[in-house]
């Protein structure tokens, strides 16, 4: 599979005015987080839980920043109540970058069920998402920006294994 460089993608997000990043790591996102720790223009705040990261992003948005939440799909379970009882009803957007562990049932046992249901959970909650690919980045980001700026709702970019360089 073609891959995107973490650097190019983060720089792209910064150009879209995302400067506030937080989350809980996943190996699939390790390159992104390493790069975030290196760039001047963006701030990466380690969160201890994904739902706390949702709260942090909400506070950042309410004070005028555009936030990004990086997490593994296992974190989606922890976040669902925050998304449904905070972001969706208050119209507080956030760009979520969610790694897809357990894709196709080929992963460690703890990832298999969530790997099967994560996108169904998003759909059930009425939350839009797209699977990010090296060749759909511009188009997907344009959709995400519309969702965030016009509808003021969260948008999730699903990241498959191998999309980004991993650093660990």
């Amino acid at each position: 599979m073609l891959s995107l460089t973490s650097q190019a993608f983060i720089d792209r997000l910064i150009r879209e005015n995302f400067k506030f990043f937080t989350g809980v790591p996943c190996s699939l996102l390790s390159g992104l987080i390493s790069h975030l720790e290196e760039v001047e223009e963006a701030k990466y705040i380690p969160s201890v839980r994904e739902d706390a990261a949702v709260g942090l992003c909400a506070g950042a948005y309410l004070s005028g920043s555009l936030p990004v939440l990086l997490m593994q799909n296992s974190g989606l379970g922890y976040c669902l109540n925050a998304f449904t009882s905070l972001n969706l009803i208050y119209r507080i957007p956030v760009l979520v970058i969610m790694s897809w562990r357990g894709q196709g049932g080929k992963d460690a046992p703890e990832h298999i069920i969530m790997g099967d249901i994560d996108q169904k959970l998003l759909e059930t909650a009425g939350m839009d998402y797209a699977i990010l690919k090296p060749d759909n980045c511009d188009q997907v980001l344009a959709t995400a920006m519309r969702k965030i700026n016009e509808e003021k709702l969260p948008y999730t970019l699903v990241v498959e294994k191998g999309l980004f360089d991993e650093r660990h």
Binding site: D51, C57, Y61, A82, S85, Y90
Partner: protein
């Protein structure tokens, strides 16, 4: 001191600071006493008032930001105390109304009778953590924290007394967002 008295004492001390409220009784009591544009009434997402407040504090470093929390909410998100300590925003004041119960759902006991939350905050690394039991101690303690660098923690020990007839927040969540963002911009 009754819980309501803590609000009666605290709210007149506020200027135009953003105040992020924990869900349940905390929102309703504050709203009923004095509705403010700069109040973020978090009606769901229990436990997240502290992380929302941290986000505001980090993005508005020149502005004091207050979190008005409950013991049950704090216990649900103790990890956020560590995040606040680690990020150490000087402008964050975390006030906790500790009635040792989940009052909003019928006064079931929490465990804050056994866990001194101000010590948890202090050990996590808040710059200051105070505990008050008497109404007359609220004002000096709050003013001290508002006039010095944080992150600060103020635990107010109260007796549950919530009157279920107290009104609910009448603004819609979307209105709460718009008002709060507007007040923060100015």
């Amino acid at each position: 001191m009754k819980g309501t008295e803590a609000f009666q004492e605290l709210i007149p001390l506020l200027g135009n600071e953003p105040v992020v409220h924990a869900n349940g009784y905390i929102c309703r009591e504050s709203f009923s006493l004095k509705d403010r544009e700069a109040n973020f009434y978090m009606i769901g997402s229990m436990g997240l008032a502290s992380s929302i407040g941290l986000g505001v504090a980090l993005c508005k470093p020149e502005q004091k930001v207050i979190v008005l929390d409950g013991d049950g909410n704090v216990l649900m998100a103790m990890g956020t105390l560590a995040m606040i300590a680690a990020e150490a925003p000087k402008n964050l004041v975390h006030v906790v109304i500790d009635n040792e119960v989940y009052e909003s759902t019928g006064k079931q006991r929490s465990i804050s009778n056994a866990v001194p939350l101000e010590q948890v905050a202090k050990s996590a690394g808040y710059r200051q953590a105070l505990r008050v039991d008497k109404r007359e101690d609220i004002k000096p303690a709050f003013e001290k924290l508002m006039n010095s660098d944080g992150p600060s923690f103020l635990l107010i020990k109260v007796d549950p007394c919530f009157d279920p007839k107290t009104g609910r927040v009448t603004h819609t969540p979307e209105e709460i967002t718009a008002r709060f963002m507007n007040s923060i911009r100015h």
